[in-house]
């Protein structure tokens, strides 16, 4: 189809507008994280008066206070102390998210296989129940979860976060894996069954290897949701040893006297792991949820 020059101009203008809208905030944060704080706060704004510096990053990882902060006295560096929890918080988020991913893969594929291939009483009812459970908004579960976790003595533990995030992510994993397993040719299962293989054996030796791409996608998706979750993390974790990344960043945002240079360095560091995972997850989402309608 021939495209007119006017149409092309509109398309490019739209594309540029979108790119600016979506990407400039990231660029601003990355730039802001290497500009000395004094310049950021200057009025009239003069961000580039002094050369860029990696001092904020150095502080987060080593605790070495940037030169420009010491001139301003002890208070500001004390307040910014919180950003030093960021590496620890990333580690916490990783531990929790990895455990959630593992739970999703093991429990999720078991359930998905049963739903895809085995006839048993209550199959449709339990399947619907599992999926419908996600229609309850998280905030409606916050208070009762808190009470339960408190009674279990699980406040401020990884296992509380892992259990809750598993409950939040499993319905989606079960759905996606059920569809994936059902899409595999049933003849293989039947042949294996005739040979006397149990469903466990078929799942382990045939279905799982065949559905590997879906497993990777579903697992990473669960990982990302667990890594990003904020509301439950906020009230389950009470000390800096257990706080996850979104919680630490949320706390920093509530701090009105926070050092923005530090904050932006924290955001940059914290965003990197998600961005690395994002691409495979995105491809999986697009392929898995839109039933292959997307080409190229």
């Amino acid at each position: 189809m021939r495209r007119s020059a006017g149409r092309r101009a509109i398309v490019y203008a739209g594309a540029i507008l979108l790119a600016v809208f979506w990407f400039s905030p990231f660029a601003l944060v990355a730039v802001g994280s290497v500009i000395p704080e004094v310049n950021l706060l200057s009025f009239p704004p003069d961000w580039f008066r002094d050369p860029p510096t990696l001092a904020t990053y150095r502080y987060i990882f080593t605790g070495e206070v940037p030169a420009s902060y010491e001139q301003r006295g002890a208070l500001r560096s004390m307040v910014s102390n919180e950003v030093r929890d960021v590496p620890r918080a990333i580690a916490n988020s990783f531990i929790v998210a990895a455990a959630v991913m593992l739970l999703n893969l093991v429990l999720g594929s078991l359930a998905a296989y049963a739903y895809a291939r085995i006839r048993f009483p209550g199959r449709a009812a339990t399947f619907n129940f599992i999926l419908m459970s996600r229609l309850i908004p998280s905030v409606a579960l916050a208070v009762p979860y808190y009470v339960i976790i408190q009674q279990l003595g699980w406040l401020n533990t990884y296992r509380a976060l892992i259990a809750i995030y598993a409950v939040l992510t499993l319905p989606f994993t079960v759905l996606v894996l059920t569809l994936a397993f059902r899409g595999l040719p049933p003849e293989i299962d039947e042949a294996a069954q005739v040979e006397g293989a149990s469903p466990w054996r078929v799942l382990r030796d045939i279905t799982l290897p065949l559905a590997l791409p879906n497993l990777v996608g579903a697992g990473l998706f669960a990982f990302m949701l667990a890594y990003s979750e904020f509301l439950f993390g906020l009230f389950i974790t009470t000390t800096r040893e257990r706080r996850t990344l979104p919680v630490i960043l949320g706390a920093l945002s509530a701090n009105t006297d926070v050092s923005w240079g530090m904050l932006m360095a924290s955001i940059t560091i914290g965003a990197i792991p998600t961005l690395l995972l994002a691409f495979p997850v995105w491809r999986f989402m697009v392929r898995g949820l839109t039933t292959g309608a997307v080409r190229g």
């Binding site: 009239p44 085995i118 409606a140 579960l141 319905p171 469903p199 904020f230 509530a254 995105w282």
Partner: protein
Amino acid sequence: MAGPGAIGQRISAETRAGQRRAFSGFAWTGALMIAPVFLLIALFTLYPFGRAIYESTRIESPIFPPQYVGLQNYRDIIGSSYFMDAAKTTALFAAVTVPLLLVLGVLVALLLNEPFLGNTALRIGMLLPWAIPATVAGLIWKWIFLDSWGALNALLYSVGIIDSYVQWLTTPNLARMAVVVVFVWSQLPLASIFLLAALQGIPQELYDAASVDGAGAFGRFRAVTLPGIRPMLVIVALFELLMAITNFDITYSLTQGGPGTATTMVTYFTWVESFKKLDFGRGSALAIMIALASLVAILVLIRAMPKGALVEERR
């Protein structure tokens, strides 16, 4: 937090359940296989929800002795002007963001469906706003909108568009607008990519036929594109409605519900009641009300959509 496509797929998955040949004579094995997931979810759904209903009928706070009060919590909430403000803000927020996301989503999908240099880069890059935690999205934009040394003010001032800094986050309506912008920024990628997928599922022949019938660009859009993506539009609308009603992270990190209570929505209100004021009874009552409201919103939308819209979605 499943994607919008999930709803449609679930329904079609259900209609197909049991059609394929399954293992027979392994009923116990099947039940055993689903047991961990089912029990975990049942334990963390039925019990907490029952518990919330129970607590919502009681005074449960650090100040007063626990006591059964019937529907008093609900009456107090509905009678409270703070709650009514939060409810109105939430309704307004949803009424602005959902249509905005649908319109922009269609426009972006149409754009991405055109060939242009950098198309793939844009498609991959647009996952960034979606992929980062919502708290981080709020924080990034807070630095942009910040009143005293935010990037937007610095930029506008440097170019000479404004001669004094705009109080973006401390002026009620501007702060509301800021929350809308951040929400759209982070939700638009998913909405567009799903609409794009629906768009690409429309057979080219339909467009050709419409052209033969003499339809112009707008006519083709109305006769072919819109009906073709309608099921997906409904799903995206449902999903975004839920996201808008339950939005918490962005408000928390961007405005903390302020200035005053200008951007306090029901979820943030619930958070304050439950975890700042530690009034669990009232917090639970609020939670039940939010759950019911979302349920009603979903049912109304499902009612409003054309028959068969969800099932057709799987082509």
